[in-house]
């Protein structure tokens, strides 16, 4: 009598999404290699990381928030604030070993604060983090409206030191990004906290009734995201060696779109940091191709817009199909 009950969808939604993302990345890379002579190289690949190290970190943080079904639009301001505050403190003679912990703690504190407000007052994350965005951007300008250069030795070393593999170079700070990706992957897959993040995004009511620590989890993801933003800010200041209050306007949307292209659902519960990372790399490679084509850099945005549109429609079609199957 016993017969195996088949699952209704043969492949799960998250796997399909990730697969599409990987295929897209590979085809862009192969396409670029076929079209341009010097495109196919380790150097091109590494440069994607060199140039997008900070964005990957920010996008990984954002993935945590999106997984719970929330959203955080404050991170670009947090990055700018981190850069401006760091530059200003360094100019005042504060050593780097003091500056970095300070800016990271501020980021963490900001996130935990916003998370608490969102959870305990049951407010929309959009509006709370919008307030956070204004606050941080405003504080940047309070510190300085001018660009502040960084001449600290440690920062300079961090900006310039690299490893050479053949002719390809990879900067030291990229390894911080690798650690963040690895850490986030581990947390999301192998810790109770990480699984609670997914459960919360799947169905908050269920998560409560299954006895999961919903309050702690929800507050923590905003903490993690703002911490990642501050860390991205530190790396961005290595990268640019300056702090300027109008830096990175709109970067939070780059982070969100990377996560979505990487297979994260804005409704929560589905997504991976690997997908998000590839999502950032796809944006990077489009940027590279646009440069090779000698086009206006804004073509990057146009392409991303088209991609995003295609991706969300594909995601929707997959989930509608899944729902239909379930209905029967």
């Amino acid at each position: 009598m016993k017969s195996r009950i088949k699952a209704k969808g043969e492949i799960s939604f998250s796997n399909v999404s990730l697969l599409i993302t990987i295929i897209l990345f590979l085809s862009l890379f192969i396409g670029g290699s076929l079209r341009y002579d010097r495109f196919f190289s380790l150097s091109t690949f590494f440069n994607l990381f060199n140039d997008n190290a900070y964005l990957i970190i920010a996008a990984v943080g954002t993935t945590f928030v999106l997984l719970t079904g929330g959203i955080d639009i404050s991170i670009a301001s947090t990055i700018a604030f981190t850069c401006v505050l760091s530059a200003s403190l360094l100019r005042g003679g504060v050593p780097a070993v003091v500056v970095i912990p300070i800016v990271l703690s501020i980021g963490l504190g900001l996130g935990l604060g916003m998370g608490s407000i969102i959870h305990y007052f049951k407010l929309q994350p959009f509006i709370v983090t919008l307030a956070g965005q204004f606050l941080m951007r405003g504080l940047c300008a309070v510190i300085s409206t001018e660009s502040i250069p960084i001449s600290n030795e440690f920062y300079k070393a961090a900006a310039l030191n690299k490893i050479l593999i053949g002719r390809a170079k990879i900067y030291y700070y990229v390894f911080i990004t690798f650690i963040v990706i690895g850490g986030a992957y581990y947390i999301l897959k192998y810790t109770k906290f990480g699984r609670s993040v997914y459960a919360l995004g799947g169905n908050e009511q269920s998560a409560v009734l299954m006895g999961l620590p919903v309050a702690r989890t929800k507050i923590a993801v905003y903490g993690i995201n703002s911490f990642c933003a501050a860390l991205a800010g530190v790396i961005f200041s290595f990268y640019t060696l300056a702090g300027y209050s109008l830096q990175n306007i709109g970067l939070e949307l780059d982070a969100i779109s990377s996560a979505v292209i990487g297979g994260t659902l804005l409704t929560g519960g589905v997504g991976t940091v690997i997908g998000t990372t590839i999502g950032v790399l796809i944006q990077g490679i489009i940027q590279t191709i646009v440069t090779y084509e000698n086009l206006n850099t804004w073509w990057t945005k146009v392409t991303i817009a088209a991609l995003l549109c295609i991706f969300i429609i594909i995601q929707r079609i997959i989930s509608i199909k899944a729902e239909k199957k379930k209905g029967k």
Binding site: K8, K189, K192, Y198, N203
Partner: protein, 506 residues
């Protein structure tokens, strides 16, 4: 009997949500280890609230709960689980985006060297589900399986938590007979291990199949606790809906031939709804009051929802005055002369912040369309007319409806629908939470409307009321029509006999 050590005891439990809504009044409940205890009652009896208080979803206002003699005060479900109270809720409360195995173990994952041990999770989940005869791929996402399987997985999770008390809140509503039998087998096994199981259901047969004792609640109050074997079904139903057995044999005939002479207005032919009623034939004539009777979940409200175009048909046809018709939404129903006062006055009926006048003209305005607006003067005239006709007690028609008493709110809703001049009026629990005087007035209005030629469908869990105004009664059980009674056949005893399960009754 002897003094007993109870596993879980609750005394003098009260809980109110607002000063007006009292969900539990001085309720007690005692659960022994190694027993299956049914918690029964009609809609609004307080079962769910009691369960929420026991599991920590809601905090109690007053009262004492003890587990193995020690006082407990769970404030969150997390705390409830920690002290050994595990529960399965009516709707599946799992995460659709996680794998089957993870849904079973999340929050208490086996770990190796600090990290979640996925291999063990999958193996354990497979072994656990084997006990339920469920051979499925535990690594697949939960939402790839049917609701019935999801419910079984939820039950497996709750059983595996090794709790002292297991609460099952209507777990069987989406299960097939086979799956129910499997569940019962497991419940018996857990019972043997000494677990105390609280079983909430509206299937009376299941109560008699599996439970040892029964506690009945009614209107938030404790009615009593009985040995299942010593309580006949009819008596149980009597306790649930508030009538003593002695009263049952006294029949009340209110039927008058003259109500019943109109033409057929609406007819359902072999109608099935998606997941609701099955194969229903039903006709309603102008000028009659048709009662729909049955326990909660028997399909009585579902019929009204289908007729009003809220739920869609799976098969079957609806005819109005002999013409086949398709009601794609509620506006279509209104335009066809159907009106519906839903069960939940607060959330589905009144618009609290609008005035009485605006509440009355809402449906009429919808029927006429947004662009043919009703002038303020016309609206006031209509409002005045019904305030007088229905004797709505209010200082003025501009009063906000939320400031009225429940009975007067109900009259306003009634006025709203009467203003659309319907041919068929459907009332779902129109007298709930209303004082006796107003109740009588509403019943009188219903009878008068029928005399004037309107068809009325009357749904109530109070059989008394139905006896007073219905000329014909349809009895429903498990989403099917089981009996139709007419005129002199209608009696409390007959109705309850059929609600409880007809001739299968012992």
């Amino acid at each position: 009997m002897s003094t007993q050590n109870y596993l879980l005891e609750a005394h003098h439990i009260s809980k109110s949500y607002t000063s007006a809504v009292i969900a539990l009044k001085d309720v007690r409940f005692q659960l022994q280890g190694g027993e299956i205890h049914a918690l029964l009652g009609e809609n609004g009896a307080g079962k769910s609230t009691l369960i929420k208080v026991l599991t920590g979803v809601e905090e109690r206002d007053t009262g004492l709960i003890t587990l193995e003699g020690k006082e407990i005060y769970p404030k969150t479900p997390q705390e409830g689980q920690k002290i050994g109270i595990s529960s399965v809720y009516q709707e599946v409360n799992l995460c659709p985006n996680l794998s089957v195995a993870e849904n079973i173990y999340i929050g208490r994952e086996p770990r190796k060297k600090g990290r979640i041990d996925w291999k063990t999770i999958y193996v354990n989940a497979r072994i656990l589900l084997e006990k339920f005869d469920l051979d499925i791929d535990v690594t697949k996402d939960l939402d790839q399986y049917s609701v019935a399987i999801q419910q079984m997985i939820a039950i497996a999770r709750a059983c595996d938590i090794r709790a002292k008390v297991l609460i099952l809140d209507e777990p069987t509503s989406s299960l097939s007979t086979n799956e129910v039998n499997k569940l019962f087998e497991i419940m018996r096994r857990l019972k043997k291990d000494g677990m105390g199981i609280i079983f909430v259901t509206h299937f009376i047969d299941q109560v008699y199949e599996i439970t040892d004792r029964i506690t009945v609640l009614r209107n938030g109050e404790y009615v009593g606790t009985y040995e299942t074997a010593n309580l006949p079904k009819v008596e149980l139903v009597g306790k649930m809906i508030g009538k003593d057995y002695a009263q049952l044999n006294r029949t009340m005939v209110s039927y008058e031939e003259e109500y019943n002479s109109g033409d057929t207005f609406l007819e359902l032919k072999e109608v099935s709804g998606l997941g609701t009623i099955k194969n229903l034939d039903l006709s309603i004539r102008q000028g009659e009051v048709l009662g729909l009777s049955g326990l909660l979940g028997s399909g009585r409200s579902e019929i009204a929802r289908i007729i009003f175009g809220i739920d869609s048909l799976e098969k079957g046809t609806i005819e109005i005055k002999g013409k086949k018709i398709f009601l794609k939404n509620t506006l279509a129903a209104i335009k066809n002369g159907i009106a519906f006062c839903p069960e939940n006055r607060k959330t589905e009926g009144i618009v609290g912040d609008l005035s009485i006048r605006d509440n009355i003209i809402l449906a009429l305005q919808a029927k006429q369309g947004l662009f043919k607006s009703i002038s303020k003067r016309e609206a006031s005239r209509i409002a005045d007319e019904y305030i007088e006709k229905l004797e709505i007690k209010t200082p003025s028609k501009d009063q906000k409806i939320k400031n009225l008493s429940g009975g007067n709110q109900q009259k306003v809703i009634l006025a709203r629908w009467l203003a659309t001049d319907p041919n068929l009026l459907m009332l779902d629990e129109p007298t709930r939470g209303i004082d006796i005087g107003t109740k009588a007035e509403i019943l009188k209005i219903v009878i008068d409307l029928a005399k004037q030629g309107m068809g009325v469908i009357f749904i109530s869990s109070e059989i008394d009321e139905m006896l007073r105004c219905c000329g014909r009664m349809v009895i429903l059980r498990d989403m099917r029509k089981v009996m139709e009674l007419k005129g002199r056949e209608i009696s409390q005893a007959a109705i309850m006999h059929h609600i409880a399960g007809g001739d299968k009754d012992e």
